[in-house]
């Protein structure tokens, strides 16, 4: 970074930078404090380490491996197919394959379990007496469901890597005597390895963080074990310790991905018209490719959504829509709305403070605040709860000694605690969206404004904010949608009576009250489609490589 006028002006650090560093530290402190739960609390861990932990750990490892392999095969394979071969429907499939991103795993589980229709008055509309999927309530079942909703991560990153490859590389390989298929397999595929690994890492992290899918399928992974210990016969310390185990697991994974990828980058400079032209498939292969892609999309996305819509219409027609639905929708909107506004404000502060900061350490700290995004919601919830309830108790005893009045639990008794948990978890989304805009603003612009007498606040208000607007909007929307879909932290921290749409779907599916889950699930998917549609639009307008960075 070039020395700017601000940097040369020595003396005390900018207030903005200080504020940003303090906020960033507040956001990561609860997570970094998690390992402290092992100090002096050996007993509880002894109890779970003999019973719950080995099973949960094994399940989580299988989930990670299974989803890793599954998404690599499915997402990577599809990216390869769409990039290097031409077949009927390829143009639409190209972007439509991204759509399952809008489907949370627990919604897909609800649709699948809903096919066991006979126990309820709620018969499957599409499959008559019910489509049965044996073995769905197993780790393998969870792997299948999660692979179906998470493969787009690998697909998008793989596709953008393939599109970034030059035709000349393939031609060189062919001139050395390889067939088209061989050169795709032996040259193009390995070149995309870093991108594919990145996609797989994202998918595996989502799988480890997943709570709804495994819980509803009765599979005991680390996340569901945390929930069970938190709301069960064990204690808080044990839940915190389990959370630490899961956190360690996530970090090992992140480190492994970094190590494996190393410094390898295979960027190729593309000239005009240099991109790979997919080879048309002939004969039966052509139809196999087309039907394979479309059948997959139908099974993992189109049919579930149609089924949800059919069920929702049925419940509306029968008048069996749960009366609490309106309240759940309102709660969801309030939580998501407030969190999005706060996240955007915090994100702007962090990004601007980081820019104003002179030290590398300060900038690094603001970036550290994105850590929560890699961490499962169940972990964030238990990590955030402990300090908040401590503050709550202080407030209560303080109010009692000052005025003798009785006040409620300020954070943990209201939605504030939940909003803070969301912020820790999803702040990365708004931060990165705003940061990517900010990095495109030339620092000389700041210098010019300041040379003309504007102070930092004025620079932010008059120069940056107008330019940051698209990033702020995008970040806000991403946070909004993620909060709406969020399940584990909401399940653990929501004040009683503040059920969200996601909670409604989860609880109703758990109790086999399927009619009550249909409409909220459909709402979640429809709202969840918004950012996916935006991503698809970006893919088509800006090209895959730049759009994939938004993932």
């Amino acid at each position: 970074m070039a020395l700017t006028g601000t940097a040369r002006r020595a003396a005390r650090p900018s207030g903005w930078a200080v504020a940003a560093v303090v906020v960033a530290l507040l956001l990561v402190a609860p997570l970094l404090a998690l390992p402290a739960s092992f100090i002096g609390e050996g007993d509880a861990f002894g109890q779970i380490s003999g019973t719950l932990l080995p099973d949960a750990l094994r399940t989580s490892i299988w989930l990670a491996l299974g989803v890793g392999v599954g998404t690599l095969a499915l997402g990577g394979g599809l990216a390869l197919l769409v990039s290097f071969y031409d077949f009927p429907g390829r143009r639409v499939l190209d972007w439509a394959l991204v759509l399952p991103l809008a489907l949370p795993g627990y919604v897909l589980v609800f649709v699948v379990l809903g096919q066991f229709g006979t126990a309820t008055p709620f018969q499957s509309t599409l499959f008559g007496d019910g489509l049965r999927i044996p073995g769905i309530r197993t780790t393998t079942g969870a792997v299948v469901i999660l692979t179906a909703v998470l493969y787009p991560y690998v697909y998008v990153l793989g596709r953008s890597a393939f599109l970034g490859q030059s035709r000349r590389t393939l031609e060189a390989a062919r001139s050395l005597g390889l067939s088209y298929g061989q050169s795709v397999r032996r040259v193009a595929f390995p070149l995309a390895r870093p991108a594919l690994a990145g996609g797989v890492a994202l998918a595996v992290m989502e799988a480890l963080a997943d709570f709804g899918t495994v819980d509803l399928l009765g599979v005991q992974a680390l996340t569901s074990a945390i929930y069970r210990v938190w709301n069960g016969a064990f204690d808080e310390a044990a839940a915190l310790q389990l959370a630490t185990v899961l956190l360690t697991f996530t970090f090992v994974l992140l480190a492994a991905e970094r190590l494996l990828r190393g410094r390898r980058r295979y960027d190729q400079l593309l000239g005009e018209g240099d991109a790979i032209a997919p080879k048309p498939l002939r004969g039966w292969k052509r139809w196999l490719a087309a039907s394979g892609g479309w059948v997959l999309l139908a099974v993992v996305f189109v049919l579930p959504v149609v089924q949800l819509a059919a069920w929702s219409l049925e419940t509306i027609a029968d008048g069996t829509v749960a009366p609490s639905l309106g309240k759940a929708a309102w709660n969801t909107a309030v939580l998501a709305g407030i969190t999005a506004v706060v996240a955007v404000a915090v994100g702007t502060l962090l990004v601007f403070g980081g820019r104003a900061a002179r030290s590398r350490a300060a900038r690094g700290t603001t970036r550290l605040s994105t850590l929560g995004y890699a961490i499962p919601g169940a972990v964030v919830a238990v990590a955030v709860y402990v300090p908040l309830v401590w503050i709550d108790r202080r407030i209560i005893s303080g109010a009692d000694s000052v005025s003798g009045s009785r006040v409620g639990l300020f954070f943990t008794g209201s939605i504030l605690g939940l909003i803070i948990a969301y912020l820790v978890r999803f702040n990365a989304l708004s931060f990165l969206a705003i940061d990517s805009r900010m990095s495109r603003i030339d620092p000389h612009l700041d210098d010019a404004a300041r040379a003309l007498g504007a102070d930092r606040a004025r620079v932010l208000a008059d120069v940056h904010l107008p330019l940051l607007k698209p990033g702020i909007l995008a970040g806000g929307m991403l946070v909004l949608v993620e909060v709406m879909k969020e399940l584990p932290a909401t399940a653990l921290l929501r004040p009683l009576g503040h059920d969200t749409l996601a909670i409604t779907v989860w609880e109703a599916t758990k109790d086999s009250r399927l009619a009550a889950a249909a409409l909220p699930a459909l709402l979640i998917v429809l709202v969840g489609l918004l950012p996916v549609i935006l991503l698809v639009k970006l893919l088509r307008s800006e090209g895959w490589s730049s759009a994939a960075e938004h993932l």
């Binding site: 719950l52 099973d55 006979t118 126990a119 709301n231 407030i338 008794g413 102070d455 109790d511 086999s512």
Partner: protein, 343 residues
């Protein structure tokens, strides 16, 4: 708007404080609308009991705020909130949850002649910290298509090797199972109980999250025998008289079918104890009980006649849970189940 504020050189701390105040205000406003009402933590919120509570308000003028959740969830919530809880009454399912609440000191002794008249002594809490509202049986059920009548006559039969791979159980995380096993421990002793559970586990049961799911899977043919709370089957049969699952009443020549309770107690920190007691009294009256047992459970008030409730299976011989002994054995029950690999 924000840009304008920043431009007008409002200092950053003031802006930050404003934002925080606005958010805190909204959040607190949304959460505390219950100061004047009787707050009920209702673990029976999925049982369709709302009418009963509405009737209570209509009759007494006492406004209620119902907060729903599962039994364990509500217990944890109450425990964490401690003396700061807004709750006045805890309504929850299963002895395990009632006992945990009592044991943690969350409830307070409540009694009155009306309550004593409404509830028979056999199923009362000796400490009067909670009062039962309904009775529910946890019993084996069989597929009518694949299992002949009389094949199962006791809890032991679920461990018969001929059902290997054909049994369905709910997770050991369920209080219903925890109470059942604690009651076994109390009545049969640890060795017999362990042998019994071991025989169940030897059959490689499929494990479900809820009784409803389990029934659905049985109807679909995933297993031949299972263990559920009876009212789930009553509801399924109510919706579909041809539902292919039937109860197999256990130990009818012996002790009878394991009977558990749901119940309610007054929260020890409540400052509306008199109103809370009124709610408990109302919930055990004949009128309220008739409404409550519409979901297929059995009433506790003996004035409710068979015709009143129209509940199925009222003549089944039952073995009420050992209220005093089973509660303290629940931690042992959980440990035993986990030890034997009951997920």
């Amino acid at each position: 708007m924000l840009a304008g504020l920043i431009r007008r050189r409002w200092p950053l701390p003031v802006l930050a404080l404003l934002l925080v105040l606005v958010i805190a205000g909204v959040a607190v406003a949304m959460s505390s609308s219950d100061d004047d009402t009787l707050v009920v933590y209702n673990g029976r919120s999925h049982y369709g009991d709302e009418t009963v509570f509405e009737n209570f308000t209509e009759k007494t003028g006492i406004e209620l705020t119902l907060r729903g959740g599962t039994g364990p969830e509500l217990f944890e919530r109450l425990k964490r909130e401690g003396t700061d809880t807004p709750a006045d009454v805890l309504v929850t399912t299963d002895l395990a949850n009632l006992w945990r609440a009592e044991n943690a000191g969350l409830l307070t002794e409540t009694t009155s002649p009306k309550l004593e008249a409404n509830v028979p002594e056999a199923i009362r809490d000796p400490g009067s910290q909670w009062w039962p509202l309904t009775v529910r049986l946890r019993v084996p059920v069989v597929s009518t298509k694949r299992v002949p009548e009389g094949a199962i006559t006791g809890y032991e039969d679920l461990g018969d090797p001929k059902w290997k791979g054909r049994t369905c159980l709910r997770t050991s995380n369920s209080e219903y199972n925890q109470s059942l096993v604690a009651d076994f421990l109390a009545k049969r002793g640890p060795e017999e109980t362990e042998a019994l559970l071991q025989s169940w586990m030897d059959n490689d049961p499929k494990i479900f999250n809820s009784d409803g799911e389990l029934l659905g899977a049985m109807a679909e043919g995933d297993c031949d025998v299972g263990l559920i709370n009876h009212y789930y089957l009553a509801r399924a049969l109510d919706e579909d008289p041809d539902f292919p699952v039937a109860p197999a009443w256990p130990d009818q020549d012996g002790a009878g079918a394991h009977a558990n309770v749901s119940g309610a107690g007054v929260v020890s920190t409540s400052d509306k104890k008199a109103q809370a007691r009124k709610l408990l009294e109302y919930l055990t009256t004949r009128a309220a009980q008739v409404e409550i047992v519409k979901g297929g459970e059995f009433p506790v008030n003996e004035q409710v006649s068979a015709e009143d409730s129209a509940a199925l299976w009222q003549t089944v011989k039952i073995d009420p849970i050992a209220v005093e002994q089973a509660g303290p054995l629940i931690p042992d029950a959980i440990a035993l189940m986990l030890d034997l690999g009951w997920r």
